[in-house]
C-alpha cells in the first residue's frame, strides 16, 4: 500500500458521503426516481475505502502474545483556529508529564491550535467499517422502503449527512471535533426522528430526543473544558511543533508511554463521569434512555442505522477511546459498569411486555448497549475489546432485526402492533427466516454472532468478579504503595505470561496509579462485579425471552393480517404511500384511507392473504446479507481472535494499565454453558407462552388456541408457569415500565420544568409599569453598590 494511500482513504471515507449528501440536497428533485443513487454510490465507495483502511490499520496488531505496538496515522486537513495561549497543565500534576518537552512553556505563550485532524487506528477503522457498511445496506434497503415517499431527497440527504458526521466523529482526533460532530449526529438524528413531522408524535419524539441529548452534550462540554484545563490540549495525538518539541496529546503516544501520565483522583473521576454522562445521553443509558423508544417514530431504516447500529454506539466508542482516562479512575469505571448492567436489566424487563415490535427492538438495543457499557466498565483489555466485539455483532443483527421489522411494517401497511398480526411466516418467508436468524443471534444461541460476543462480555465480568477463577495471582503482600502499580504489573506480564490481577480489583486496594484516590473508588470491588455478572446473566435470559416472544407473536400461529395490510401494496402511487407512512399509522384505530371503503373485516379470515406479500428483493437482499453476517461473523472473529488482537493495537488500549490486564484468549466453557442455558430458558418460556398462539390472545386466554386439546397436559404446567414465572415477571416488568414512565420520564420532565417555573416567577416582574422598572433597577444597582462598598471598606 503506498504510504499516502491510508491518509487519502481516510479523508475519502467521510468526504464521499458528504458529497453525496450535498448532491442530493442540490439536485434532489431533478434526480427523480434515481434520487438514491448519490447516497448509495457515495456510501458504497466509502465502504470500499473503509475496507481498505481496515487492512491499512492492521499495523503490527494480530500477535496475541507480545504486547502490540500502537498503530496510528493522523492527517491534518486544516487549521481551524489558533488561540495564542493554551493553559499549561498544572506543574507537578501527572498531566504535566515531567521530563518531556511540552512546547515553550517557559514563555507562557504556548499556542493552542484547533486543527481539523483525522486519525486512523484499529478502533477507528473498525467503527468506520461498521458505519459505512451498515449505512450502505440501509441505503439500499431504503430504496425499496421509501420508494413511495415524496420526501425521498430529504431522507437520502440526511442519511448521507449522518454517515458523514458519524464517520467524522469516530475519525476525528480531537475532543473538540468529537464534540462538534457529536452535536452533528444529534442534529441528523433529530431531523430523521422528526422526518414525518406532520405526525405530532414524531415531532414530539424528535424534540425529546434533542433535549435529552442536550443533557448528555452538556456533560461532554464540561468534560472537554475539564480536559482542557487539566491537560492543556484537546488533541488525541501528539503534535510536533516547528521547533521540534512535542506537545503530548491527551491520548498521544508520549503520554501513553508514561505510566503516570493520566490524572486520576477527583478531577479524573469528574472528567470520566462527565464523559459517561455524555455517553449515556447518546447511547441511551439509564436515566437518559427515555428518548430512544420514542425515537422509533422515525422511518425504520433510520432507526436501524442510527438508533440501533451506529449513533447509539457513539457512547461506547467514546468510553473505549478514553480508556486510559477511565482506567486511572476505578470508581468511574465501576459506575460505567453499574450503569450498563442496570440499563441492560431494566430495559430487558421493560422489553418483555412491549407489544410494539419496534419498541421491543428499541428496548433490546438499550439493553444490549447496557451490556457493552458493563463490559467497558471492567477496565480490562478483554472488557474493552469485548464491548467493541459486541458492538460489531450487535450492529449486524440489530440492523437485521430492524430492517426485518421494517419489512413487516412495510407489508402490514404501517401496522407494527404485534397483537394485530400473526403467522406471517407464511406470507413473508424470507423476512421470517432472516428475522429468526437475527433473533437467535440476539438471544445468544450458539453459534450465532451474539453468542460469542455476549460470552466475552460475561467472561470479562466474571474475571473481575472472581479473579482467582481466571488464574489470577494474589498480591496479598503488596509492595510499597509508592510504586506505580501499573508499572509493576507490566513488568510481571512477560515473566509469568499469566494473567495478572491489578491491585485495584479488590475492594480495599488503592487505585491503580500512585496518585490520588478517586472519590468513588470504593465502589470498584469484586463484589460489585459479581452482582453485575449475575444481573447480566439474568438479562441474557430475558433477552432470549422477549426476542422469541416477538418472533413467535409475529411469525407463528394462525395467519392474521390487519386491514391496513391490504392497502400497503394496493397501489404504488405516492399518495398511497404517503397515506400509509405519513399519517399516524401507529394508532390502534383502523386508519387507512378515509375515502376507501373498508371492505375487510378485522379478522384474519377476512383478509385476503394475497394482498400482503414478501417485500421486494431490494429490501430482502440486505436482510439476507445481514443474516449471513450474523451467522458467521461471531464465529469468525472469535475463532481467530482477530478482532481482539487487532483492536489491541489501538493507541488508547496500549496504555500500560490496560495492557497489564491482557489475558490469553480462551473459551470459557462454563460461562458459555451458563449463557446458553439462560437463553434456552428464555426461549422455552417464550415458546410456552407464545409459540403457535394467537398473538392477540390476552394472557389469561392463552389456552383457547387451536392446539388446546392436544396439549391438555400442559395445562397445569402452564398455570404453574404462569403463576410462578410469568406473573411475577410480568408484574416486575410492568413495574419497571411504570418506574420508567413515571419516575424517570417525570424526572427528565421535571428537569425541563424547573427553568420554565423559574421563568414564570421572573416574568411577574415584567409588569409594564415604568416606575416599577426604574425602582427595581435602582434597587439592584444599590445592592451592587452596597456589596462593593462593603467589600472594600469592611
Amino acid at each position: 500500500m503506498p504510504p499516502n494511500l491510508p491518509a487519502t482513504l481516510l479523508v475519502l471515507v467521510p468526504l464521499l458521503p458528504l458529497l453525496a449528501g450535498l448532491v442530493t440536497i442540490v439536485f434532489g428533485r431533478r434526480l427523480g426516481p434515481r434520487v438514491h443513487m448519490p447516497a448509495v454510490i457515495g456510501i458504497g465507495a466509502a465502504t470500499g475505502a473503509a475496507l481498505l483502511l481496515l487492512v491499512a490499520a492492521g499495523g503490527t496488531g494480530g500477535g496475541t502474545h507480545e504486547a502490540p505496538r500502537p498503530a496510528e496515522t493522523t492527517v491534518t486537513l486544516w487549521q481551524w483556529a489558533t488561540i495564542d495561549r493554551a493553559i499549561d497543565p498544572q506543574p507537578g500534576s501527572p498531566a504535566a508529564l515531567p521530563g518531556i518537552a511540552v512546547g515553550s512553556t517557559d514563555s507562557g505563550t504556548r499556542p493552542l491550535s484547533l486543527a481539523v485532524t483525522l486519525r486512523l487506528d484499529p478502533l477507528t477503522a473498525t467503527m468506520l467499517l461498521v458505519i459505512t457498511s451498515i449505512g450502505l445496506l440501509v441505503a439500499i434497503y431504503s430504496i425499496g422502503y421509501m420508494h413511495d415517499d415524496p420526501d425521498q431527497p430529504r431522507f437520502f440527504a440526511l442519511v448521507s449527512m449522518f454517515v458523514f458526521s458519524m464517520a467524522m466523529l469516530v475519525a476525528s482526533s480531537s475532543f473538540l471535533l468529537v464534540y462538534v460532530f457529536w452535536e452533528a449526529v444529534g442534529a441528523c438524528s433529530y431531523l430523521l426522528i422528526g422526518f414525518w413531522f406532520r405526525r405530532p408524535e414524531a415531532a414530539r419524539a424528535a424534540k425529546k430526543a434533542f433535549l435529552v441529548n442536550r443533557v448528555g452534550d452538556f456533560g461532554l462540554a464540561i468534560a472537554v473544558f475539564l480536559l482542557w484545563l487539566t491537560y492543556g490540549t484537546l488533541d488525541f495525538h501528539d503534535v510536533r511543533a516547528t521547533d521540534g518539541t512535542i506537545l503530548p496529546g491527551i491520548l498521544g503516544q508520549t503520554r501513553l508511554a508514561d505510566a503516570g501520565g493520566f490524572v486520576g483522583g477527583t478531577v479524573g473521576t469528574l472528567i470520566c463521569l462527565c464523559l459517561l454522562l455524555a455517553a449515556s445521553g447518546k447511547s441511551a443509558q439509564v436515566p437518559l434512555h427515555v428518548w430512544l423508544p420514542d425515537a422509533m417514530e422515525g422511518p425504520t431504516p433510520a432507526s436501524a442505522l442510527i438508533h440501533a447500529a451506529t449513533m447509539v454506539t457513539a457512547g461506547v466508542y467514546l468510553v473505549a477511546r478514553c480508556a486510559p482516562l477511565f482506567v486511572v479512575s476505578p470508581g468511574a469505571l465501576a459506575v460505567v459498569s453499574l450503569v450498563g448492567a442496570t440499563t441492560a436489566l431494566v430495559a430487558a424487563l421493560i422489553g418483555t411486555v412491549q407489544t410494539d415490535l419496534k419498541r421491543v427492538l428499541a428496548y433490546s438495543t438499550i439493553s444490549q448497549l447496557g451490556y457493552m457499557f458493563a463490559s467497558l466498565g471492567t477496565g480490562t483489555l478483554a472488557g474493552f475489546t469485548a464491548a467493541i466485539f459486541h458492538l460489531v455483532t450487535h450492529a449486524c443483527f440489530k440492523a437485521l432485526l430492524f430492517l426485518g421489522a421494517g419489512s413487516v411494517m412495510h407489508a402490514m401497511g404501517g401496522v407494527i402492533d404485534m397483537r394485530r398480526f400473526g403467522g406471517l411466516r407464511a406470507v413473508m418467508p424470507i423476512t421470517a427466516a432472516t428475522f429468526f436468524v437475527g433473533s437467535l443471534a440476539l438471544a445468544g444461541v450458539p453459534p450465532f454472532a451474539g453468542f460469542f460476543s455476549k460470552d466475552e462480555i460475561l467472561a470479562a465480568l466474571h474475571a473481575r468478579g472472581w479473579p482467582d477463577a481466571h488464574g489470577g495471582v494474589h498480591h496479598d503482600h503488596e509492595p510499597a504503595a509508592g510504586a506505580p502499580a501499573a508499572v509493576r504489573t507490566a513488568r510481571l506480564v512477560p515473566s509469568t505470561a499469566a494473567p495478572v490481577v491489578p491491585a485495584a480489583w479488590r475492594s480495599t486496594a488503592p487505585a491503580a496509579t500512585p496518585q490520588a484516590v478517586g472519590p468513588l473508588d470504593w465502589l470498584a470491588g469484586a463484589g460489585l462485579y459479581r452482582g453485575l455478572f449475575w444481573m447480566s446473566l439474568i438479562t441474557a435470559g430475558l433477552t432470549a425471552f422477549y426476542t422469541f416472544r416477538a418472533v413467535f407473536m409475529t411469525f407463528t400461529g394462525p395467519l392474521r393480517l390487519p386491514p391496513e395490510a391490504a392497502h400497503a401494496h394496493g397501489g404504488h402511487g405516492p399518495d398511497d404511500a404517503h397515506g400509509t407512512h405519513g399519517h399516524g399509522q401507529r394508532g390502534h384505530e383502523s386508519h387507512g384511507h378515509a375515502s376507501a371503503p373498508n371492505a375487510h373485516g378485522h379478522t384474519a379470515a377476512a383478509v385476503d392473504a394475497a394482498a400482503s406479500h414478501e417485500s421486494p428483493p431490494v429490501m430482502t437482499r440486505p436482510l439476507v446479507i445481514l443474516a449471513g453476517a450474523s451467522l458467521v461473523i461471531g464465529w469468525l472473529l472469535f475463532a481467530t481472535h482477530g478482532l481482539g488482537g487487532f483492536l489491541a493495537a489501538t493507541p488508547s488500549l496500549t496504555a500500560p494499565a490496560v495492557v497489564a490486564t491482557r489475558v490469553p484468549p480462551a473459551f470459557h466453557l462454563d460461562l458459555a454453558i451458563q449463557g446458553t442455558l439462560a437463553a434456552a430458558i428464555g426461549i422455552a418460556l417464550a415458546a410456552i407462552g407464545h409459540l403457535g398462539r394467537r398473538s392477540d390472545a390476552p394472557s389469561l386466554e392463552r389456552f383457547l388456541g387451536p392446539l388446546q386439546t392436544l396439549f391438555a397436559r400442559r395445562f397445569f404446567f402452564d398455570e404453574i408457569e404462569h403463576a410462578v414465572v410469568v406473573r411475577p415477571l410480568e408484574s416486575l416488568a410492568w413495574f419497571a415500565a411504570l418506574v420508567d414512565r413515571v419516575v424517570i420520564d417525570g424526572l427528565v420532565d421535571a428537569v425541563a420544568r424547573v427553568p420554565a417555573a423559574l421563568g414564570d416567577i421572573v416574568r411577574r416582574g415584567q409588569a409594564g409599569v415604568l416606575q416599577r422598572y426604574s425602582l427595581a433597577g435602582v434597587a439592584g444597582v444599590l445592592a451592587v453598590l452596597l456589596a462593593l462598598a462593603w467589600q472594600l471598606w469592611q
Binding site: V769, Q771, R772, L775, V778, A779, L782, L785, L786, A789, W793
Partner: protein, 260 residues
C-alpha cells in the same frame, strides 16, 4: 458608642440627618389621604423632620473658614436643597416647576461660590430661561386646572425613600472617607516623599482664581473641541428628531382619523 457602629466616613450627626431626611421625604411625598394612621399629621411631621435633617446636615458640614463664605454657601445650598426637595414633594406640577426654578437659583449660587461663574450664569439662562419656561407652557397646556389623581399619589414612596436614603448614606460616607487615613497598604513611611509627590490639590486650586472664564474657553475649544462639535450634533439631532417625531405623529394621527 453609636459612632463606633458607623463605618468610617460618617458621623452620628450625618447619619441622623440622612435618616430623618429619608423619613421626612417619605412623609411628604404625595400619598392618598387616609392610607395610614398618620392622616393629616404627616405633612407637619414631615416638615419638622425635614427641617431637622437640614439643620443636622448643615451642622455636620465642615467649617469653611471665613464667616462670609460660610454664610453665603450655607444660604445658597439651603436654597438649592429646599428647592429640590420641594420640587419632588409638591403635588401640583406647576408649583413643582417653580420650586425647581428656585433650586436652580440655589445651584447657580453654589456654582458661583465654587468659582464657576460662567456655569452659574449658564445654568440660570439655559434652565430657568429656556427649559423651565417651555415646560411651564406644556403644563399649562396639558393641565388647565386642578390636581390630577396621579399627582396626588406617588409610586412606592416608602421603598423609593428608603432607596434614596441608602444611596445618600453611601454617597455621604464616601465623601466623608475622602478625609480618612489612607489604607494600610499605601502609607508611605516618609511624609516628605508624600508631600514631594503630591500632585495637584488644594494648593493648585488657587490657580483657578486667575481668569477662569478664559481658561474654561481655552479648555473647551482646545482639547474638547471635538466634544463641542459632538454637542452641536447632539443639539442638531435632538432638534431635527423632535420635529420629525412631531410631524410624523401628526401624519399618523391624520391617517388614523381619515381611516376611521
Amino acid at each position: 458608642m453609636i459612632a463606633a457602629l458607623l463605618p468610617t466616613g460618617t458621623t452620628p450627626l450625618l447619619a441622623a440627618a440622612v435618616a430623618s431626611g429619608t423619613v421626612s421625604l417619605w412623609l411628604l411625598l404625595p400619598q392618598a389621604p387616609g392610607s395610614d394612621w398618620l392622616g393629616h399629621r404627616r405633612g407637619a411631621l414631615g416638615l419638622v423632620l425635614g427641617v431637622a435633617a437640614l439643620a443636622a446636615l448643615a451642622w455636620a458640614g465642615r467649617r469653611l473658614g471665613g464667616l462670609g463664605d460660610e454664610a453665603v454657601f450655607q444660604i445658597v445650598s439651603l436654597v438649592a436643597i429646599v428647592g429640590g426637595a420641594a420640587t419632588v414633594v409638591t403635588r401640583s406640577p406647576v408649583y413643582s416647576a417653580i420650586w425647581f426654578a428656585l433650586a436652580l437659583a440655589g445651584v447657580a449660587g453654589v456654582l458661583l461660590v465654587l468659582g464657576a461663574q460662567f456655569l452659574g450664569v449658564a445654568t440660570i439662562v439655559v434652565y430657568a430661561g429656556a427649559i423651565l419656561v417651555m415646560f411651564l407652557f406644556v403644563l399649562m397646556l396639558a393641565q388647565p386646572s386642578g390636581l390630577a389623581p396621579y399627582d396626588r399619589v406617588s409610586n412606592e414612596p416608602l421603598l423609593a425613600a428608603i432607596a434614596g436614603g441608602v444611596l445618600l448614606a453611601l454617597l455621604t460616607t464616601s465623601i466623608g472617607r475622602l478625609s480618612a487615613d489612607p489604607p494600610a497598604c499605601c502609607t508611605i513611611p516618609s511624609r516628605a516623599d508624600a508631600v514631594a509627590t503630591a500632585p495637584v490639590g488644594p494648593a493648585a486650586a488657587d490657580a483657578l482664581a486667575a481668569d477662569p472664564l478664559a481658561r474654561l474657553g481655552r479648555e473647551l475649544f482646545g482639547r474638547h473641541l471635538l466634544a463641542v462639535e459632538a454637542a452641536g450634533l447632539l443639539l442638531l439631532v435632538a432638534l431635527v428628531g423632535a420635529i420629525a417625531v412631531v410631524s410624523r405623529g401628526e401624519v399618523a394621527e391624520a391617517t388614523r382619523k381619515g381611516a376611521s
